[in-house]
Symmetry: C2
Subunit: 425 residues, 2 copies
């Protein structure tokens, strides 16, 4: 039987998942491809480490270029992560006319467009399904199955760590710090969780998703971003009472010739399909101008789910690599404009005395922020109360200016939270 | 620019959606394919009918073979539905070495395997994404993106009519008959809704889904099937109280060398993603041995969503038709065995006097049906009460034998409902 030889850079969680799937689903893979996949060379840091995969000692090397320059290898699978040296390795592999499969979101978000051009010039493929949503086949679904659609919006819960934390805060009424510890204990959060909880990871993934959805290179820096570190139990309780769940929502919305992009903790209506995406699960919710609303849901991380996406890409290349490469032009078609015209949830602590609410409401009004609802919440015992406002759709800049003025009032103790309310209209 | 010429059989809802998408997303399609799609010939019944599409009069014909034998046409799109004459037309088209795209679930469920063989022999493609789940790209996702996985189970809410009816019964507390009328008024149910409400439509779709998921031809007659006509408002209220929603669930579960297949109204836990699939929406929930749980959600019917799936297939053929056809062997690998070992919900009306419950419980016990919970519900005013039982996992045959005996008891007025409880384990 014909075979296709793979070189793998890295042998961590995803790589070992990949190797294991290739082994335990061997007959499935062979039936599908009519070819065998053989792992020819694997880059590791330490040749002596015991690994949970069934590979001969001889395949391992500590020299990346022994993998990248291996004449027999047709496909390089990059699973070391991070930008350097992965960037140099992938460039070298593509220029060696080898196809590349990667799960590296930071690299694709940063250099994807350039690397796609290099792949195109060398008539090889660069695929990165696993870089967004782990096992969920979202990129290939957009690329292939929804190719008849102009996509109008893409929303995603694409960071499992924050989703786990927020779910635990919601369902088990944990504080933020308790939920982070719980996530760390279960391996859903790293010792330093900042790249997840600050929204960086989700922003990388959104830039990849939105670039593909809208056919235009989206830079991470064009995404307005806010993490979940300031979400309190009180906000989650308030959200529930109002019929919402709080999720870290990545969103890209196209209107006319403009695109808005943000990663922001958001109120999601409890009857919306994204509201039911819990714990470490991810989902992407799209609107196409023909297909309407579509959601894909699944595991956003993990050895086997992510390995499944990597292997899907490898199998696609084996089946279709003789197809001419397509140049994703990524012309600048749309203007990125983040006015963030949304409904907002604002919680503040104020002194409990007559006239305070009226004063705040009139400052909002002065700055064109109209209020959909106001709820006075629990007394805090020290002569203060919590006020919760839901605004009508307003530009974020107006909200910020109004709050700047409100903050100066002697009767306002603190602005506690500002969150988006996403109604998916 | 190069072009690919299409022949369309039928010009109903889906076909007009297809033609309209080809027009309004023309630049998207052309950019993706580097070719133009041209509609060369269209079969209709009535040449004079006004149609909501922008096509020249000359393309229409009332002679199917003028479409099928058109030398310029590379792809035949069959959208007339029903088994005859669609079956003959598709056979003729494939034997003419034309690719075929169809949305015809009854035909594919019945003759799909034979037609795939004819396509294989002629080295052309037969694609039918739109036959299951309308716009949801479920078949191609299983075929391509999840090709690295052995699929273990497939669950689906794949009939929009019944899902609309059950959602309305649940959310607006309508009776079954009221909900059917509502669905008919909105075009979600036909004047004679029997093929939907009896579960035939879902069974056709499940046979297509499961054939692809398990790589073995599944006949519709191997699927145990029950419709929703006997679901009462009381069952829906009971389900809610117990933390479930009632859905018409299609399921295919592989265990060792056996497959169980059923379409049955089922209790779905309210926190399961399938529970949030409402009204006319559809979803398919899969478990793969690598990817884990995946769900795809979207519109299961309608002109544009279904047209989007048809166009996705057409574009796939244009891009990949030069790939050698694959023979889907569909060897008999698994035994179909419908023991239906599930938890069951059973509601019955009994005379309100001491000892009745004990008698019923001991009959269940005698037939190896153990009870997880029993609730005595409202009194009915005529000296009867409702009893609701949830069993532990039991074979359906034992449930039926026990109920046969229970029915004979003088104190049991009626067995009202038997529904599955699906916990997705």
């Amino acid at each position: 039987m014909e075979s296709v030889k793979l070189g793998i850079l890295g042998m961590g969680t995803v790589a070992s998942g990949l190797v294991n799937i290739i082994e335990f689903n061997k007959s499935k893979v062979v039936n599908n491809l009519n070819k065998e996949l053989i792992i020819n060379k694997v880059l590791v840091n330490n040749l002596d480490k015991e690994r949970n995969v069934n590979l001969q000692k001889e395949v391992y090397t500590t020299d990346a270029y022994e993998v990248i320059n291996d004449k027999n290898v047709e496909i390089i699978v990059e699973l070391i992560g991070g930008i350097n040296p992965a960037y140099e390795y992938i460039k070298a592999a593509l220029n060696n006319k080898k196809h590349v499969v990667t799960a590296n979101k930071a690299l694709i978000a940063t250099h994807g467009s350039e690397l796609e051009n290099i792949a195109f010039k060398n008539n090889v493929k660069l695929m990165y399904e696993a870089s967004v949503g782990g096992g969920i086949p979202i990129l290939n679904t957009m690329r292939e199955n929804l190719c008849a659609n102009e996509l109008e919006s893409v929303f995603g819960i694409i960071n499992g760590t924050t989703n786990y934390i927020l779910t635990q805060m919601t369902e088990n009424e944990l504080d933020y710090d308790q939920a982070v510890k719980e996530a760390q204990k279960l391996g859903f959060a790293e010792a330093d969780p900042s790249s997840d909880v600050d929204g960086d990871d989700a922003a990388y993934k959104l830039s990849i998703l939105a670039s593909l959805a809208f056919g235009q290179k989206i830079n991470v820096k064009d995404i307005t971003k806010e993490g979940i570190t300031k979400i309190s139990k009180q906000d989650i309780i308030n959200a529930k009472e109002l019929g919402y769940n709080i999720k870290l929502l990545a969103s890209g919305i196209k209107k006319d010739n403009k695109i808005e992009l943000s990663v922001h903790p958001s109120f999601i209506p409890e009857n919306h399909p994204l509201s039911t995406v819990k714990n470490e699960f991810n989902a992407v919710f799209l609107k196409g101008n023909a297909v309407g609303e579509i959601m894909l849901y699944g595991k956003g991380a993990g050895s086997l789910p992510t390995g499944s996406a990597v292997l899907g890409d490898i199998m696609y290349i084996v089946k279709y690599s003789d197809k001419e490469a397509v140049n994703n032009e990524n012309k600048q078609k749309y203007i990125i404009e983040n006015k963030a015209v949304k409904q907002y949830y604002i919680r503040m602590t104020v002194v409990d005395k007559p006239g305070v609410l009226g004063g705040i409401a009139s400052i909002f009004g002065k700055h064109s922020v109209s209020l959909a609802s106001v709820v006075q919440k629990q007394k805090n015992g020290n002569h203060t109360v919590s006020l919760v406002f839901i605004t009508h759709e307003s530009e974020r800049i107006n909200i910020d200016i109004a709050l700047e003025e409100i903050k100066k009032s002697e009767t306002v103790t603190n602005i506690e939270s500002i969150l988006l309310v996403e109604n998916f209209r």
